[in-house]
């Protein structure tokens, strides 16, 4: 049902792609008629509640569910012991010792983070499920715990997984060019001993949820959920549940935001499936916000140590070396993929030739990490931007000029980066100029000089990349035994009985407007208006097309999704023209598709509506000659495969992403000296994501990514108590998700550098690369320039800035050694 009153003027003659077509999805959302998982209901359904460990690290000596199970209206209970009998540990991607990690859907023998589910209850009502869970008695034996992602790698640290024997999950050396030569050559070496990127999350407004029915008759599991990567979940859940993976039937419909956080819910869905089978009833789970914060995905938390940056006298930065410790939390549920994904943006926007990063992924008693918008790349990009910013401050270069000197230049594209990635297009200096124009940098420099007493003003730039459409061959750099390379997406284009155009995809939109942009692409190919195209978005195992890693993650829909739609629509067009040629007695080359008709070019009278074509193929097939009937079905499935090769795992080298969109942000902050509070006075973002299929939708993604970054930079952080391992931001009262009063007016502009590697010239975008975190850190550094303070944290609440303002800075966070 759509309210899209697409004026006839738009699109006739010109293409729908490139138009800000109003969204097809809006009607149901605006009327409150969306179908989110908690809105769904099944006869005889029970409600699930997970009992969670209050301890961050504790042995589970006993679990007594008898009182709970005896309560009237309780359908079933589930404990770790049962899970260990009924299921096998999940498949692990990590190589070596960590491959032996034993991970189940409930804690088995030991709880390893505060909030880890230790038991589950299925009951008649939501409230009863919780009452019953409280009646479960668990005897714990608390164990020493560790929440420091670096110290956990020390030999004396308490070990989380005895079966692995260490808290180091993965380690690898990324070494390109010759950094030692570069450090020796350099006129200056800038040394930064320690930088820290904190843990935060996009916290989608809809929490995780699933309605699972294990149908005994067909031994199939029907899952209605808001998980973003159903096929990835099947890969884990099939073997774990000892069931054919194709017996897990996924269906996603409307999802209240995902941002990557809804990828690793396969553990909860496994437990719910077991409860459903045990009780012989559908089981519905709707996670509460505090459960989500304590038990679901947090973003990567990364510490950088011993950073060294060789710089020539003229400001040319040769590269950098660093050690990185990434804290993956208590289990590897999508990790250690993050241990390679950051290398999509190894050198950020810059022409560094010599880079060495010793990367270590560690385990701590905290929520398992999962891909949070900008996954693993925004941490690295923040460090790279901080390096460039500190080089400018310490060596007296103008931050704008220094960036322009070291940026990849417009004429360099396609530009091969030292690790084999190929940046496809861009114009970084132009984007930077545009963003500085948007905030009117000269005006703010003037105001900075005349800041009122007790106030400081700072201007910061954040240049960042959105790598899109990853090559799963990157996983072989983590573990050469993993049989995953390439990527892709599938789409089906069909004609309905009366010639209605239907598109279905394997993607899982959570607000990215797939129905609208897919309709625009199909409309252009088939000569109709987007209003005439129905797109069934959302993953539907039994109905939609899909491939191995179908889903929506890692900024790729504009490329994999829309190219799949174009391919399927072209196949359908060819079949329509073949049937049309027969029906009109004309050559296919003389025919065109326009306004829902197949007509002879120049003689619009000789035409047949799509309904006629459908009639011939679907209901009047004997009228068709065999050679046409045998080769047409008007149901066309196309798989778009990006041109990836296998990766060289020895050198950790290869093109592990297809497109690189970029965003250059500029931010003006005011710091209140007496309190350290930061207020954003002006904010701008310029986006370059190749051909813009729906400009308004792209701008919406830029706004959302900007708010995500601003929240992370100033308001949102997860902190664990060092001594008790308790998460201290366990509700939205203490996890301050940025409100409309916290986010400033966002000025936006764009540059359009068509992608050379994506057929439609578009690039995946929307994760935003954390640009605001870079821009705000750099703006704070600029405001504190004369104090000697050094911004080495990505999260800057008032207290940290107050400390920087009042510290004596005898020992500064940066040191320059010059020849």
């Amino acid at each position: 049902m759509t309210d899209t009153l697409t004026e006839p003027g738009i699109g006739t003659g010109t293409s729908w792609q490139g138009q800000s077509v109003p969204r097809k999805e809006d009607g149901r959302y605006l009327r409150g008629e969306g179908a989110f998982v908690d809105d769904l209901w099944m006869h005889r359904m029970g409600y699930v509640y997970f009992l969670r460990s209050p301890y961050a690290h504790a042995r589970i000596l006993s679990i007594d569910v008898s009182k709970a199970a005896a309560m009237d209206g309780v359908y079933a209970t589930l404990t770790g012991e049962e899970v260990a009998e009924l299921t096998d540990p999940y498949f692990q991607m990590a190589p070596g010792a960590a491959n032996g990690m034993v991970d189940y859907c409930l804690a088995v023998g030991k709880a390893r983070f505060m909030g880890e589910p230790v038991a589950a209850v299925l009951a008649e009502t939501r409230e009863l499920a919780r009452d019953a869970a409280e009646a479960i008695e668990v005897v714990y034996e608390p164990l020493p715990l560790i929440v420091d992602g670096v110290a956990t790698a020390e030999p004396d640290a308490p070990v989380l997984h005895e079966e692995i024997g260490t808290n180091v999950a993965w380690t690898g050396l990324y070494d390109y060019g010759d950094i030692d030569w570069a450090l020796a050559q350099a006129d200056h070496v800038v040394r930064i001993p320690h930088m820290y990127f904190h843990r935060f999350s996009s916290t989608p407004l809809e929490c995780n949820a699933a309605l699972v029915n294990w149908d005994p008759g067909t031994d199939t599991i029907d899952v209605k959920s808001n998980i973003q990567m159903p096929m990835f979940a099947s890969m884990y859940m099939g073997p774990a549940l000892r069931i054919r993976s194709d017996r897990i039937r996924w269906e996603t419909q409307d999802i209240g935001g995902g941002f990557g956080i809804k990828i690793t819910t396969y553990t909860y869905i496994t437990a719910i499936a077991l409860l459903s089978r045990k009780a012989g009833r559908p089981a519905k789970w709707a996670e509460t916000r505090s459960e989500h914060l304590m038990g679901s995905g947090h973003g990567n938390e990364r510490t950088f140590l011993d950073i060294e940056v060789p710089v020539m006298a003229d400001g040319t930065i040769l590269g950098f070396s660093a050690r990185a410790f990434d804290d993956a939390g208590a289990y590897l549920r999508y990790e250690p993929l993050g241990a390679v994904i950051w290398s999509h943006v190894l050198v950020g926007c810059y022409r560094f030739k010599h880079v060495r990063v010793k990367y270590t992924e560690t385990l701590t008693n905290k929520v398992p990490v999962c891909p949070n918008r900008g996954y693993s790349r925004l941490q690295h990009l923040w460090m790279v931007e901080r390096i460039v910013d500190l080089v400018a401050h310490e060596l007296g270069f103008d931050p704008v000029e220094l960036r322009k000197r070291n940026y990849v230049q417009p004429e360099d594209y396609p530009y091969e980066v030292p690790n084999g990635c190929v940046y496809d297009s861009g114009n970084l200096p132009l984007s930077l100029d545009k963003t500085l124009a948007l905030i009117d940098e000269p005006k703010w420099r003037e105001r900075q000089r005349n800041a009122p007493p007790g106030k400081r003003i700072g201007i910061g730039i954040g240049s960042t990349l959105d790598s899109g459409t990853n090559n799963f061959g990157q996983s072989q750099i983590i573990n050469p035994q993993l049989p995953f390379t390439g990527n892709g997406e599938a789409a089906i284009a069909k004609l309905g009985f009366y010639g209605e155009i239907q598109i279905s995809l394997g993607t899982v939109p959570q607000g990215q407007s797939h129905e609208t942009t897919a309709a625009q692409v199909a409309a252009d190919v088939l000569g109709v208006s987007p209003d005439d195209v129905d797109v069934t978005a959302g993953f539907k195992s039994l109905q939609n097309a899909y491939v191995g890693f179908s889903g929506t993650y890692a900024s790729q829909f504009a490329v994999t999704g829309l190219n799949a739609v174009a391919g399927a629509a072209e196949m359908l067009k060819a079949e329509i023209l073949k049937i049309g040629a027969f029906a009109l007695g004309a050559a296919q080359s003389d025919l065109e598709l326009s306004g829902g008709m197949v007509q002879v070019v120049g003689d619009p009278e000789r035409a047949i509506p799509l309904a006629g074509i459908a009639n011939l193929a679907l209901a009047n097939v004997a009228a068709l000659p065999d050679e046409i009937a045998d080769t047409t079905s008007l149901t066309c499935r196309y798989v778009y495969r990006p041109p990836f090769e296998v990766v060289d795992t020895e050198r950790k080298w290869g093109n592990i992403s297809l497109t690189w969109a970029n965003q250059i942000h500029a931010c003006v902050v005011e710091i209140d000296e007496a309190t350290g509070q930061v207020t954003i006075l002006d904010y701008a973002a310029v986006d370059d994501c190749g051909i813009r299929i729906n400009p308004k939708i792209i701008e919406g993604q830029v706004h959302g990514a900007a708010a995500h970054g601003i929240g992370g930079a100033l308001h949102e952080s997860f902190t664990y108590d060092e001594e008790t391992g308790q998460l201290l931001n366990a509700t939205f009262f203490d996890y301050h998700a940025a409100t409309s009063a916290d986010i400033p007016h966002l000025r936006t502009d764009y540059v359009e550098s068509p992608s050379l590697t994506s057929p439609n010239g578009a690039k995946g975008m929307g994760e935003g690369g954390g640009a605001p975190l870079h821009a705000i850190s750099n703006a704070i550094q600029d405001a504190l320039a004369d104090t000697g303070a050094v911004v080495t944290h990505a999260f800057n609440p008032p207290e940290r800035i107050y400390e920087m303002l009042n510290a004596d800075h005898a020992v500064r966070g940066v040191e320059v050694v010059s020849r």
């Binding site: 969670r52 869970a133 008790t724 308790q726 998460l727 201290l728 931001n729 009262f733 203490d734």
Partner: protein, 145 residues
């Protein structure tokens, strides 16, 4: 969280020392105490419902009175549960004689586990300190409360 405080008792140090080592007396002094089950000379289980404006937060508490130095020092350790929330605490109590009785200096380490540790992080230090203080105050009176 590290807490401390002081209380005055009219009893002489040795009398107070005995009073504080008496599980029944200590348990009866707990705020909102409902049931007491003395397990042995050194420990008791108590069901307490401390009241605040927001309602009561029922806790099942197991308390042990540990090492003692006669007339000078008493150590108390406890673990409690309220629904899905847990608490652990150790209280060290030092007695020093005064002309009019005994000065009681106490310091405690109290740790909460579960959602309460987050939602209560601004008020639990005050509430826990008040509860410990009022329990010691109660137990330290001439006549048991």
């Amino acid at each position: 969280m590290k807490l401390e405080g002081s209380v005055h008792s009219p009893l002489a140090p040795s009398e107070l020392w005995d009073a504080l080592r008496d599980p029944q007396r200590l348990a009866d002094a707990l705020p909102g105490v409902r049931l007491v089950d003395v397990l042995d000379v050194q420990s008791f289980r108590a069901f307490i419902e401390p009241a605040t404006g927001l309602g009561v937060t029922p806790f099942e508490l197991d308390v042990r009175i540990d090492d003692e130095r006669a007339g000078e020092h008493v150590s108390i350790s406890g673990a409690g549960r309220s629904g899905e929330q847990l608490v652990e605490l150790e209280v060290e109590i030092d007695l020093s004689g005064r002309a009019d009785g005994t000065a009681v200096e106490w310091n405690a380490d109290v740790r909460f586990f579960g959602l309460l540790s987050s939602i209560g992080q601004r008020v639990l230090p005050h509430i826990a300190a008040d509860m410990i203080e009022s329990a010691l105050q109660g137990a330290a009176q001439a006549e048991p409360v």
